[in-house]
Amino acid sequence: MTLVFLEGVDDELSRQAVTLAESLGGDVRAVTVDGPFAPAAWAAAIVDAAGGDDIVGPGSDRGNEVLAHVAAQLDLPFAANVSEVRGDQLTRIRWGGTLLEEARLHADRKVLTAAPFAFVASVDSTQAQVLAPNLDGAVAVVDHIAPDTGGKVSLADAKVVVSGGRGVGSAEGFAILEDLAALLDAAVGCSRVVTSAGWRPHSDQVGQTGTKVSPDLYIACGISGATQHIAGCKGAKALLAINADREATIFAHADYAVIGDLHEIVPAIAAELRKVKGS
């Protein structure tokens, strides 16, 4: 028997976690938790509800956090971001997904989270029991700050991301990327080199330690393809790389490639889009 913690019944990563739970065999029941977020209290409620079952959750930040609490409370090993389970052996991701670890679990109960996009979301409509945690004296969220995006598309939600790296050359160089992004209703992202240089804020950074994106199309302009960055855009359904260096590592992770100077290519794509849209 497996208990799946859902962040929300329609949450994509949570529904992928259901698939992981189903792969363990046996019955699966789902729970969500009501009320303000309080990680330890939510975990306690899940532990209560689970009885002696295996516990699975989504490999989102919140999912990993809650399940880590669960594992600590039960003194069980916790395998985060699992991509496959075979009996007591499992495969989990390292380095944001650019490396895999095969491991053996030495415990009689599993506490796992599903690596994002390692599983296809379960199509069954999920009935979930709603748990009510005990919030007495619990560490809980007391307030919420909404971001000031100025109406821009958020990086995490965008269907298309136009991203720039060292090759863009300067803060002003991003103007052509922003222009293209506007035409595609896309968000503008960047690599770590760019945030270190101060050309874009950290909130634009896509990467293992930045925002992890999963757009339909990720356009990497002048990005060399360090694993730090790849880890952030692996979730993209398609990756188009534009780089002057045909040996750049990014091409090994790309579905589509254009070789050349992004300062010429990006405006050309924008112009072509205008032409196509205008007609």
Binding site: N64, I93, R94, G97, E101, K237, P267, A268, E272
Partner: protein, 249 residues
């Protein structure tokens, strides 16, 4: 304020994953090493807090002998003292947390214990949380904002759609994320001074692993054959075609 920051020595992998012949580790022969960007922000934050409120910043790591290099780097940022639990083996997250909790119990109590949200390599997402349980302390994770005042910490956790705010009493454990601050570039006088700051190194015995690493694997399909749409601006029409096929244009 007494603050402990835990860090981990990780290789700078560049663009490709190359494993050792026995597939037990990444081949690090020509790689440089660092601590995760999350942890660097953690050290920077701890140093800033102590610079304004007074106190001590201690850096702790569990790692091979060479990890002393990372402790010295943290001292160059401003940490005052280092604790090095020396082990050349790879430890799983649960065992790591246990050793760290033991080491902390042997110290004067800390007001704040800081971890990176997850380590750059293993990405277990749990060491900070487990240490908090072992020490009976509250824990808040994934912080992009932290303000410490009057024995309490106001914590901002990044979530989709903004930030969630917590208010916890110290002592507490926090895990932080890159973006919390912009770490300083250490000065050379600081690097030189770091060489002589106290570093307590002691051997650590690894217990049996409950999540036992068997081998590492470079994922299939991480080497794609990209379809070249063209060279130079002349590729634009073909690019737009693909965009239309994908349904984004």
């Amino acid at each position: 304020m007494r603050i402990l920051v835990c860090v981990k020595r990780v290789p700078i992998t560049g663009g490709r994953m190359v494993l050792t012949a026995d597939a037990q580790a990444i081949e690090t022969k020509h790689l440089g090493f660092t601590i995760s960007p999350h942890e660097e922000c953690g050290v920077e934050e701890a140093v800033r807090i102590v610079e304004s409120a007074g106190g001590e910043v201690v850096v702790l790591t569990l790692g091979p002998e060479e990890a002393a290099e990372q402790i010295r780097d943290c001292m160059a940022i401003g940490a005052d003292r280092g604790i090095h639990l020396v082990s050349s083996e790879e430890w799983d997250a649960q065992a790591t947390a246990g050793a760290i909790a033991d080491a902390i119990r042997g110290e004067e109590p800390f007001d704040l214990i800081v971890f990176g949200n997850e380590s750059a390599d293993a990405g277990g997402y749990q060491v900070g949380i487990r240490v908090a349980y072992a020490l009976g302390l509250p824990v808040v994770t994934g912080l992009k904002g932290l303000t410490v005042d009057g024995g309490r910490a106001r914590c901002e956790q990044e979530v989709p759609g903004g930030r969630d705010v917590y208010d916890v009493a110290l002592p507490a454990v926090v895990t932080v994320k890159e973006g919390l601050n912009l770490p300083r570039y250490p000065s050379v006088p600081a690097k030189l001074r770091a060489k002589s700051k106290p570093l307590d190194a002691r051997p650590a015995e690894r217990p049996a692993s409950r999540l036992e690493k068997l081998r590492l694997v470079v994922p299939e399909g991480s080497r794609k054959q990209a379809e070249i749409l063209g060279e130079g601006p002349g590729a634009a029409p073909r690019v737009v075609e693909v965009m239309q096929q994908l349904g984004v244009a």
